[in-house]
Symmetry: C2
Amino acid sequence: MSRHDESAPTLATVAEAAGVSRQTVSNALNSPDLLRPETLVRVQEAIDRLGYSPNRAARSLRTRSSHLIGLRVDAAVEDSANALMDRFVHTLVESTEVVGYHVLLFTAGDHDTPEPYEELLRSAAVDAFVLTDTFLGNPQAAWLAGRGVPFVAFGRPWDDPTARHPWVDVDGHAGVALAVDHLVERGHTRIAWVGWQKGSFIGEDRRSGWVTRLHEHGLSTSRLSARGEDTLEFGTRAAHALLDVAAEERPTAFVCASDTLAMGVLRAVDVLGLRPGRELGVVGFDDSIAAQVCTPALTSVRQPLEEVAVEVVRGLGALLAHRPVGQPGRVLAPTLSIRSTS
Amino acid sequence: MSRHDESAPTLATVAEAAGVSRQTVSNALNSPDLLRPETLVRVQEAIDRLGYSPNRAARSLRTRSSHLIGLRVDAAVEDSANALMDRFVHTLVESTEVVGYHVLLFTAGDHDTPEPYEELLRSAAVDAFVLTDTFLGNPQAAWLAGRGVPFVAFGRPWDDPTARHPWVDVDGHAGVALAVDHLVERGHTRIAWVGWQKGSFIGEDRRSGWVTRLHEHGLSTSRLSARGEDTLEFGTRAAHALLDVAAEERPTAFVCASDTLAMGVLRAVDVLGLRPGRELGVVGFDDSIAAQVCTPALTSVRQPLEEVAVEVVRGLGALLAHRPVGQPGRVLAPTLSIRSTS
DNA sequence: GGTGGGCAGTTGATCGATCCAATCTCTCAC
DNA sequence: GTGAGAGATTGGATCGATCAACTGCCCACC
């Protein structure tokens, strides 16, 4: 009856069991190449036998790094197809685990303040952040960068091309261009845009794909564009308005800035008794779950969220190792998921 | 030029600034009522002035609690409407923050092993877990409980009513009964069930709501039930099969075990040229985003995920305070979100 | 007047890992 | 045979908080 079994094994316990010192056990874990092979084996056995895992708090305290990455989750918006985070978060968690990190979730209340970020950083709860809600340019990126908070952004620093923080983004322009090409190939010549109000950089990026691509195909964009909020209702209203013209001016296809808007367009189309598909094309953006399961299934631009997550983690790695980043940003190409509405 | 400004303030720094001892500062944070009001104010000022937040690693090491809750995220399934986690996760994060905790995400690989859970617990990375994927009974709950891992489950221990771990669940039976009542009120008398294969406790619970409620209304269930996998395709196949009978035997409404299945049913209905709504009712389960934005919008049973999250956190609180739980489980009532398909 | 008790605040030890500098053990060259 | 030097291991100090025990101090009570 040696020792009470209740307390978890520590470095010292393992060291004693293996007949070596604490430091040797620590080296076995952190720099195994420093040990003689036979010693390493002996230590490993003791570790396995005792079921030892190093205490994170202790390691964290000493090394001054928690091996945690902060990710802010904001309130889920109802009635909108914006559930693309699921896919992203999962890959992010998987990728971070590969490099020995975990993801910590937090909320930041209603208004954007740096407080929660700084608090987590000051208390050494996380080593860095991943920013995702860079919807309207990213004001946060600016103030976080200014305060020396380490982070990688999913989204370009639109408003400040000189920003030096690492970021990853998806080429919205190219995504919409893909959609336009596809619709043109299907024979459409009057392709409308349903997007967001001016002021959103992402929205303008996506829209520019529509404008330039139509022009490159020698097609007109005039009287084919609608702008408003990112809601189902606006999508429906916009479609009604765009279709309420003389037959020869009527668009035969809609490219939308989001799946939410596209679903709104589909609703209008349904009310008017038109059948989406070859005759009337509709393309969304995000390839949300709703796009996949609704009837008719929505053709949509798919962001390579898995790749984005991997790149974000790569950026985090460089950031935390204080490796200088050559070019801070990376733009990835989306693909088109073709379904029934085109 | 006192001290290099780089390093973050610690208890000692604050203590010196306020002219008190470390412990007094610690007390100011953890048991303010131990201090004389004027001392408390003085310490508070120093804390604010220096921008001090206690180091979590150090606190964690000493108190043996990380104030982190582990939540496993599994691979997002494509082509299925199961995105109900978003809503749950957000409320969970918010509720845990209120009681001073944070949520840590992790994955458990493909097969279910207790390894990742035990590893996180052994290394003191988390204090407890929240289990959510208790889809088919919950095997994990059993082995986690057996190994003394503290957790609260979202989902009943169907296979072991004597289990003592805390859990929260939603009454699937009642949810489906709600759907049946609603359809009966709309005048339907031949109401079909599209659900999962036998062997899933949740599936049987939901189905039982359909069976007993129809019988209570004096309606028949014979030849009105289909069972299969939780996919869009099966929903479509099942609907085709159920509708392929003599007109007077044909169901006029479908209650489904999930939104995914309901979307499949809608697809079949669409192909057959029927219009869902008053004449042909379809009700799903989960009130997923897809249900909300698709056309026609799907009537669906809505789980009170916000309440569930709050209850889960309450359970965690009791668990971590070693407060004995009287009755370990709590069943919450779902509601019905009525939309166009009924 | 001595004891006892509550209040306010202090000090040293401790949690479990890693860092650091010093030591020990070889092997090999001269 | 000795010293250099790399390879492997050691004990002590440290990260920053909390715990436990202790010191004054003041007032009440017998």
